[in-house]
Amino acid sequence: MLTAAAHALSIEGLSKTFGSTRALIDVDLQIAAGEVHGLVGVNGSGKSTLIKTLSGYVQPDDGAVASINGTPLRMGDPVAAAEGGLRFVHQDLGLVDELDAVDNYAIGNGFIRRVSGSIDWPATRARVTEALGELGVQLDLRRPVGQLSASARTAVAVARALVGWRDGAQLLVLDEPTASMPDDEVGRLFNVIRAVNASGLAVIYVSHHLDEVFELTQHVTVLRDGRRIATVPTNAVSHDELVELMTGGVHDPSPTSDIALSTSSPVALAATSISTSLLRSIDIEVRVGEIVGVAGLSDSGREHLAKALFGAIPRTGTVTVGGSTVAADPVAAIAAGLALVPAERLRVGLIVADSARANLSLPRIAAYRRRGRLHRASETADAAELLHRTKVKPDGNPERIVATLSGGNQQKVLLARWLGVQPTVLLLDEPTQGVDISAKSDVHRLLREAARNGGLAVIVCSTDSIELAELCDRVIVLCRGSIDAELLAPVSADDIERHCLTDAREEIRS
């Protein structure tokens, strides 16, 4: 029963609870037929959960009612979502970089085949050319997609998501499609989206970049803390009003660190013209006892800064610690007093199959060599002391295999390792990601103590604005690889979010 007023997608009463966390609370969402609808919200607002319940990979709580063009949709079922006509292009696109556009397009949807069963390459290529042509894109079908531009790759992913869309697709969801896209390609992607939209397909456009939302969408829905705060016509709201809706002023200004930082404290680390594939000539200074936060959206360079200073990834520029230059190499960095707690603790931080003791002693294992062999007793004693100091649960047993610890305690082991090295500068990347509340406050306490009492200089790169607001004496906001703002404590999480969302590109465009 289709009516003119039927929505492309209608959801009512959508909630999702993970354990004790309510990720979505009674969310309603209506997408008008044929519109481009923006979905915005700060980190942790529930955007990803909403997308995942739509695609069916997360089961919503009971009580949600959804329909597509008036036809009821059972949520939490990937097959029902696909059959109902929902199509998704996720941030990572899901392409196989080594294969060309034809293979990527056809691999899940079937190649056109001859009677003999062999692939009819000319026909398959023609079909891919046609599908891309409908999106207004022409590209070299024989090049591996990994070598194509970001917008062309996204176009391939969109074309693949929309295979046969004239028959069934109702709604295309684009989840942060421009997160790793150079500025000059965003416009080309917009043309693709407009081509899709022009043929009557509704689009949900998820992005952190508000300028894109203003340029592209007719309506915008704001999520905050799992609730839908507003759905408004895009042209009826200003940039600042939208930011206000997203941040809501719910977070109080931070309780500034209890002990004041001496203003005369000397510079511990000075870095000049640091560049990587994301960073553009960053200068940064940290003083003894200071905690500096680094905020920024994804691909702002925030995720590179700690690794770049440590020399874990290729970089140009100069890093000096205590006046002497440090080579871009982890061994030199450690020798100079730098320490890095990387973001992906399981992949690149810890050796999870090994004991806490072996993980703790690894960077300074040579120091335990006495009379030609390892002095196991002092290694174990040091490990036990560090585990006690950092309150690693459940038992602080140095022989415990790290894989059997919870995420928070693993993170404490990693932090303890580097505190044990007694560095001059501690670099942390997402220090409390996937960490429970109590471990998080332990980590924060340890960092404050190390900075104020131990004279450690700390750089914390984090997507958690509340964390930065609570912890830092100063917060640097990165935007498209450059420093966009420097905020002194007391700073609120709101301010940080606001600066992250207001990027330099918008000023250029508007």
């Binding site: 603790r345 960077p363 294992i365 295999i401 059997t404």
Partner: protein, 348 residues
């Protein structure tokens, strides 16, 4: 998401432990046996007991004991080399061919140049290390998976060995003093066995008692994490492959001295039993690759095969037995890995 990835194995382990404590006496018992870190020792006792009852006259003799000790010494030395490479995360499949190459090279050099035997051994050793160096450049510098690079190098070495022998057996290359180096005894024990013990002690000391060993295991278990912890992982990986080449070359020289003849077909068959021993060894004593477990595994396999041979079993038994042991050992090792206590070092 990362969190579920870590908590999952710990849950499985505790669930498995709870299950062990609970129902099913028989299942319980069998679980315990398969979980224990000394299974190989029990199996060894069973094998010895079985053959002692079946064929007491031939099996229970000092000659048989000596043959087992001495024949398996070369396998043991090779397994130690493989273990060094495995612990740093590289799979070396070239050490059997390397041993064979070293064997024919030392014999050929002895035949061609009548100079000091020690000089000839050193030259052989240096050439083998050079080839190991090439392999490690391919693996570490050019990031070719070690399994592929060493598989290719194994064939290259076999080809070189055939070129040296021209298909014939080299018989004139070994002097009596050189042969004494491989035959003879120290304190009543076969010399080759003594070399194995010394090599085992050295490798054990490096892996377990020195900081280098920690760096090796860390590199093998998680190269990037080790690198960010200040380990020079490239050097460690090169060292692992060179260590394997060095021990393979040494094993080849011992082999030439022991046999007195050299042929290009001798080396490659050592590959499988040595790899089997390292993996079987990684299920023993410690929950990772280790020297003592490996050496025990070498001798458990050798004892079983010798017993079968003395019982009149056909020649296929050796390959079958070694292959089955490798499959069982690797299956056990991977099962444990899934349960969250992954063996450190190589993962094929």
């Amino acid at each position: 998401m990362t969190d579920t990835a870590i908590t999952a194995p710990s849950v499985t382990v505790s669930a498995a432990l709870a299950e062990t404590a609970g129902s099913g006496a028989l299942r319980n018992a069998s679980r315990k046996v398969f979980r224990t870190e000394f299974t190989a020792l029990y199996v060894w006792v069973l094998i010895i007991g079985w053959f002692s009852l079946r064929i007491p006259d031939t099996f229970l003799s000092t000659t048989t004991m000596r043959i087992i000790m001495s024949d398996s010494a070369v396998t043991g030395i090779l397994a130690l080399g493989a273990l060094i490479a495995f612990s740093t995360g590289s799979i070396d499949l070239s050490f059997g061919a390397m041993a064979g190459f070293s064997m024919v090279l030392v014999a050929k050099l002895g035949e061609l140049y009548h100079v000091n035997t020690i000089l000839i051994c050193l030259a052989t050793f240096a050439i083998c290390l050079g080839i190991g160096g090439i392999t490690s450049v391919i693996v570490v510098r050019y990031k070719v998976p070690s399994m592929i690079a060493t598989l290719g190098m194994a064939s290259v070495l076999l080809g070189l060995a055939k070129a040296i022998t021209s298909g014939a057996t080299i018989s004139g290359g070994t002097s009596t003093t050189f042969q004494a180096f491989g035959r003879g005894t120290f304190f009543g024990l076969p010399r080759s066995f003594c070399y194995l013990v010394v090599a085992g002690a050295v490798v054990w000391y490096i892996l377990e008692m020195l900081p280098t060993g920690r760096r090796m295991f860390a590199t093998g278990a998680n190269t990037e994490a080790a690198r960010l912890a200040g380990v020079r992982t490239s050097r460690i990986q090169v060292g692992g492959l060179l260590g394997s080449a060095a021990l393979a070359s040494f094993a080849g020289i011992v082999l030439a001295a022991k046999v007195g003849l050299a042929s290009d077909s001798v080396g490659p068959p050592f590959l499988l039993p040595a790899v089997a021993a390292v993996f079987l060894g990684s299920t023993q004593i410690k929950h990772r690759i280790n020297v003592l477990g490996t050496l025990i595994a070498v001798y458990v396999l050798a004892t079983g095969i010798k017993g079968l041979q003395l019982s009149g079993a056909a020649s296929w038994v050796e390959d079958f037995f070694n292959g089955a042991a490798l499959l069982i050992a690797v299956t056990l090792a991977f099962r444990r890995q899934r349960q969250g206590t992954r063996p450190q070092g190589a993962q094929p």
